[in-house]
Subunit: 352 residues, 4 copies
């Protein structure tokens, strides 16, 4: 049997990092991952992770933390080949140049390397120590949406794992845009709703239970960072899309309701065919029969992106519904899927 | 002091009926309402109502039900002048002709008398005993949205209380459409989300806690009954609006996110002005400052409809957010507001 | 008409403070309260309060905060007679001596002045500037549970408003202990469960939505601060009671399940009679018929404490269930009830 | 490789049945299970199961139901050896005699065969066609709690899978009672709380989202059916235990807070040792370090029963906390664990 891949997760105490740790911990082709935190992270989160026996197994429940402070030497000692970054984008932006220089392969779950176009990148306000290196890495980075970019991922040194919202929107629209049947100039609207884990583990007034429960709200209207990814991957201009995120009173899951106008009158069968053709052989996308719509419960705790649609009687107006688990297909699951492709394994390995 | 108005609530064991009973029970100008159920209603709901001491007060907590079977003689004996119907639309359709003939005034919370146009009414499949009477009553019925139709309500014999979704959508759009600034042909989209009480008290697979909690889903896409009301009140044709309802995992509250394209470039101040002008002096609509959006928590347990908006940088694309409590401004509260207007009282009486 | 009472609320941005502000804002015998925050409180909470139009009314929704920094001169200028403290206990402990010296009457919602016995007070670790004054005020403070201490409240300068858990446990047990029918030495157990607002508005890892939703946990076992209040008010020793708090995934409400063994075999009617005798004429306690138990939904958003019980077939083992809204009967509502009694008004004024 | 075991699940459309179908569908030693429903079950549930692509896989999402009506010939044709019953107890009571006569081995998830003593069985009101056969099967049935009865399970024809509440209570108390350190006559109290899936899939007024959300309630006080199991397995008499179930507003999970008095003063280390000794080598019980308590989130979606405790300073009063997933360790997971033991496989097979 081949030696197992040595991996590390930096930011293993956040929601995505914990999911990654859990997935890698039972992946048949990887060793138990090295779990790291930035030294600045509070011991509180660390103790919290240590106190989660359901994640780290019974033997480790009695106290000593499995999450260690980050250092390059810790990575070297362990012989890590693949580094997962579940860190804020500024941290990823800072660490990746050295990591690549050291020969590590990287799957970055942050927004640091997803955007090719300066105009979309501006919202992040990156401050790069070495602008040229950053520009080169931006060029080399592969947007890790396997259903679209599977051919570039195997050879990638740096995979930019897509945003959770972006994954749900892009996967719903790509088949239709690729088929050229959407009247983009009439405007595409994605009304997207996410569970609270998407807002991160930091306790804030906004994530307080009493603020979220029995509530629902829109936020970052005309200004969410995932907008740029969607536009770039779908080759849309910023006037062709309105993307509105909302906060759902549930722990996890995303549902995007997407509105498009078609260039010509079409039938449900044609739309259905368009999706089936595009996702033929794709393991982690499920197409629902016409008029049967996905719900968040169906895909939560799985790596699936579920897609369904309703076509108006006039055959011109289409409502798409796209669901996924923001921590799996929207983050850690997709990161593992990317790893599987990077190393030539079955796309579903460790994800079923 | 003037004698108090005598009212009755038929369907007092449903969610809207219970809210009405509660509101009328403490309204300064009405007697304690006569609470009625159709004889067909199960004793279960009845016992449930009886067992709710928080609604009917301490003295009635010890058993004998305050909800009686419906009969015309019960109404007569009590001297009821105003009858609230919190019944299925078929029941309202059946009872209203006789009620009007008997000289009762009616506020009907069902969809039975909201629609003037046959094309929109078709989805209800009404079976009228006397088609001519039904047609006449349809003509005479006033759509009870006080912010739009306050002049017709004082003299109305039959007020058709608007649907909860419809109220949230119409109040958000009416000022803009009235000002003629919306490009209707480019399409208006209302992505609406409602708490579960909107689906009624009947236990079904769909309203089971395990089906709703941690979940979110779209339903009745291109086919919800409230669509007709919205089109009629806003004078839109069916190709100009997409209305998509969703089920939120919360007990009560509606939020509609509404997308419109403007005919010309505008400023936030202009939009703000448009709303303030239209709702000047209207007690139960709150306009939020630009870019400050309502959330469901702000209006739940009140009779307010909260309105806010964000305008895109191009000044042409507008996202509206409209929130209300589906059982109050969306049902029982609006019914009381209508009563207040019907009898010439202050619109806010009994609702603060 | 008599002049209205001038009140102030310090800590008006916390959950209890907001409820108080709301209740006093519509109380028929008080002016709009002066809303204050300690200068140390972040502007964030302040802005949050300002942004809550549902609390402060439409006219104030457009920006300028109604919550001002605390100062003695602000109180004087307004002519405040009654000061509500919705502050941490250390702050109450610090401010009350001067407030009393200035002739203000006080209702303190914190735990600062509830405990007479040093042994129970120790868990708070008070650091008093003037130990003698503190001792004198401790002596003069009245434990503001109106159903037990209504005779001492009218003349009190300093009312120590009870803890939310303590209210639910004491009101359930007082009638039985007063009747001398409980076998205290066999042990009384209160298994209590509270909604999250009881944990305060501070965002922490523990109050994060993702930590609370779909979860349930016990905390502070054998060590919760409310234990002392319960023991003192019921004249129990610490071996006779186990009090275990739990965190419920709901915003508000407390349910305590309380287990007692009776000294002799009794009937349900006797128990029922014991409760009815004890709470005769008490407006805010509701006794449920035998075997009909209160639920959290019945008392939330009211000032009621609901009490019910089941007696075992052997007539010796009794399960009590006590429910209330932790922010109303467990905090702000009870504070208003205390005010009503302090000023000789009807106990229910402003609370219905 | 050995041929895989052929299994069937009757009642595959209920919550436990669905979990079983899911677990068996990916168990390495069983074929895809034959999924059955009683012919009386409505097609609604059936369609619901069919519509759950996340359970039955992508290929089966397009319509034809995988759940067939029950018949003995269907079992024979498939060559089923092991039959899981996820049926109401009356159905299990009726089918098991013939199933055993036909040489099938059975794991019954209902309460039909759990109780040896007539006094506890009375609450079920069984009506057996053949009283003698029923008595013999009652005698032969093994109570399938592997941590207690692992020696009897391998040879059992009929395994009575324990109740969810009972599992949580018995596993917490067995080590202490076995060690003889509990003062049983002073009374043991289990205050237990369950998520809503424990109440079954049938939509009722009680399981309606609006009845459960933001609520919490006790039920079946002094009368829950699981009481008998607990008493029998722990050899207690009915005066020694009070068991009070409550309904939590969460989909799944049980937490029992259990109160015991010890015969003598003990240390936390002694208690800890008692648990570790008793559960040595037991794969599916996790003992928490002293004063570190399990929460429902830690064990949900796993087959673990988590146990923790706090000892009072007097060393005589003990609060135990026991958590598990009611559909896994409390039902389907434990059923698979029993199967693993019946066939001599590793206890954890298919459950990790």
């Amino acid at each position: 049997m081949a030696a197992k891949l040595k991996t590390a997760v930096l930011g293993a105490t956040g929601y995505s990092g914990l999911e990654l740790a859990r997935l890698l911990g039972r992946h048949p082709r990887t060793d138990a991952p090295l779990l790291l935190r930035r030294s600045a992270e509070t011991g509180e989160s660390d103790r919290h992770a240590a106190g989660l026996p359901h994640i780290f197994g019974n033997s480790k429940a009695n106290g000593n933390s499995p999450v260690q402070p980050f250092s390059w030497s810790a990575l070297e000692q362990r012989g890590v080949e693949l580094l997962f970054l579940a860190t804020p984008h500024a941290v990823s932006r800072e660490l990746v140049p050295e990591a690549v220089a050291r020969g590590l392969r990287i799957v970055d779950l942050s927004g640091a390397w997803r955007l090719k176009q300066e105009q979309h990148r501006a919202v992040y306000g990156f401050k790069d120590a070495n602008a040229q290196t950053a520009a080169e890495l931006t060029e080399r980075a592969v947007y890790g949406l396997p259903e679209l970019n599977a051919d570039q991922i195997p050879s990638a040194a740096l995979v930019a794992n897509p945003g959770c919202y972006a994954t749900s929107v892009i996967l719903a629209l790509a088949p239709l845009l690729s088929a050229g049947i959407v009247d983009c100039d009439r405007g595409i609207i994605s009304d997207s709703k996410s569970g609270v884990s998407g807002a991160g583990k930091e306790p804030t007034a906004r994530t307080h239970f009493v603020s979220v429960a029995d509530n629902f709200s829109a936020y970052s209207v005309f200004g969410h960072r995932h907008t740029g990814e969607i536009l770039e991957q779908l080759a849309l201009n910023s006037c062709q899309l309105i993307f509105t995120p909302h906060l759902l009173p549930i722990p996890r899951g995303i549902l995007s309701t997407i509105y498009v106008y078609l260039k010509r009158e079409m039938t449900s069968d044609e739309i259905q065919g368009c999706f089936h053709d595009f996702y033929k052989g794709k393991r982690w996308v499920r197409i629902f029969p016409a008029s049967s719509l996905p719900q968040i419960q169906f895909s939560v705790h799985t790596n699936y992106c579920d897609l369904g649609f309703c076509l108006a009687q006039d055959g011109r107006r289409l409502v798409l519904v796209s669901c996924l688990d923001n921590l799996l297909k929207g983050a850690a699951g997709q990161a593992v899927q990317n790893m599987n492709i990077m190393y030539g394994w079955d796309e579903a390995e460790g994800l079923e």
